[in-house]
């Protein structure tokens, strides 16, 4: 005798609501593939992954701050400043209008990488100190540092010997190769190095989040700082360390982004913080704190980039694209709020 399958409408409704965002994004992807079958080619998928990589690295850093029930609005501008410093040091020595004409030999790439990380870490530590010790809201302190980073970036770019504020470009080939060189799986499948960097950093972050004391303390502080404090967790130290790790990731992302875009100006990095935060929210990192996973962040970054790519591929008006992205973020946060209310 066959067993009757009973569907619980309430549970189905609950499932649909909690996964509304993924369902809609899935529908968008399927629609694009139906309308434009050439979208689903391997080269397009690799392109999406390449574009998602640097922003994904930013999201990996930002996710820790959101788990702490904070955020970071300075990501884009700090990336811009770090990328500008990197770019100025790796300009081709044969380029007449380079920023440092006194550099006649290509510099060791560890120097711009180290400087890029150092700059991002300094800004992140200021943010971390403000949040942990001065108990400032992350929105305010990171907004302030964002403006400072932007100001410094503009001054730096305008200080070129030519006196102009033109974007820094024409980089050494060995620098460009760091990101754009590919591992050729076959004649059709060429995977850029930057995708591997993203995977490696995601694995490291997965280890930090799940296998170390810092990761466990981070979730404890994000979930309930008071309970964490009375349980013996050093809340300030945890917050500052999470900001420090975020800074290192921003510095690496800035270095890679400079090589990826191959031209760094005052507007490099603009709105990157929104992409990083959106990727985290889409990936299930909760703004209520204490909830989030690294696979979720990676998936969120890829989904967000895939949607950006889809909208561009369909030729949707740029202004409508902004509205769609805004609605996606609001929908993701609403679902997050709903989960919070259901748990309460």
């Amino acid at each position: 005798m066959e067993k009757a399958i009973h569907y619980n409408p309430k549970k189905i409704g609950e499932f649909l609501l909690n996964n509304a965002l993924y369902l809609i994004l899935g529908i968008i992807l399927i629609t694009v593939i139906v309308i434009e079958p050439r979208f689903a080619t391997l080269s397009n998928i690799i392109n999406i992954l390449k574009q998602a990589s640097t922003k994904g690295i930013l999201a990996l850093g930002c996710a820790g701050l959101i788990v702490l029930a904070g955020t970071d609005l300075s990501i884009g501008r700090v990336l811009g400043l770090s990328a500008a410093v990197t770019a100025s040091l790796v300009q081709s020595t044969t380029y007449a209008s380079r920023m440092y004409p006194q550099i006649t030999e290509p510099v060791n790439l560890l120097i711009p990488l180290g400087l890029s990380i150092a700059i991002a870490v300094v800004f992140s530590l200021i943010n971390g100190f403000g949040v942990a010790k001065l108990h400032l809201h992350a929105f305010i302190i990171t907004l302030g540092t964002s403006l400072i980073a932007y100001g410094l970036n503009c001054i730096y770019i305008e200080s070129q010997p030519s006196g102009s504020a033109q974007a820094l470009s024409t980089f050494e080939q060995n620098f460009l190769d760091i990101v754009n060189k590919t591992v050729d799986v076959s004649s059709a499948v060429k995977i850029p190095y930057v995708i591997f960097y993203f995977i490696i950093l995601a694995l490291i972050m997965y280890f930090i989040w799940n296998k170390t004391k810092l990761g466990k303390n981070m979730f404890a502080v994000g979930g309930n700082p008071e309970a964490a404090a009375v349980s013996g967790v050093n809340v300030s130290k945890t917050i500052i360390l999470v900001f420090l790790i975020a800074g290192v990731l921003y510095g690496i992302a800035a270095f890679l982004e400079a090589a990826r875009v191959q031209s760094v100006g005052a507007n490099t990095g603009i709105n990157y913080e929104l992409d990083a935060i959106s990727a985290c929210v889409i990936g299930g990192v909760s703004f209520s704190g204490g909830v989030g996973t690294i696979p979720g962040v990676v998936l969120g970054s890829i989904i967000l980039q895939a949607i950006n790519y889809c909208l561009y591929f369909l030729g949707i008006n740029a202004y409508i694209q902004y509205i769609i992205k805004g609605l996606i973020i609001i929908l993701a946060v609403s679902i997050d709020v709903r989960k919070y209310l259901a748990k309460r």
Binding site: I35, A69, I323, Y340
Partner: protein
């Protein structure tokens, strides 16, 4: 290392009582969402409305791009 991790896990068990006074600690979290006063039903309606709005916007975007 493993013992240390286990110990830290134990330490992170939320306490209901302050160690010295024995008074309950308020466990309401102070986060972005703690002030939200809407019902679950209202939230469902909000999510549905945004989802519909998103689908309509995408449709308009595709329609204006194609025709």
């Amino acid at each position: 290392m493993e013992d240390e991790l286990k110990l830290s896990e134990l330490q992170q068990e939320p306490f209901n009582q302050a160690p010295d006074k024995g008074e309950p600690i308020e466990r309401v979290k102070n986060n972005l969402y703690s002030g939200i006063k809407v019902s679950l039903r209202t939230m469902d309606l909000i999510i549905l409305s945004i989802a519909v709005l998103l689908i309509i916007t995408i449709f308009i975007g595709v329609f204006t791009a194609r025709f």
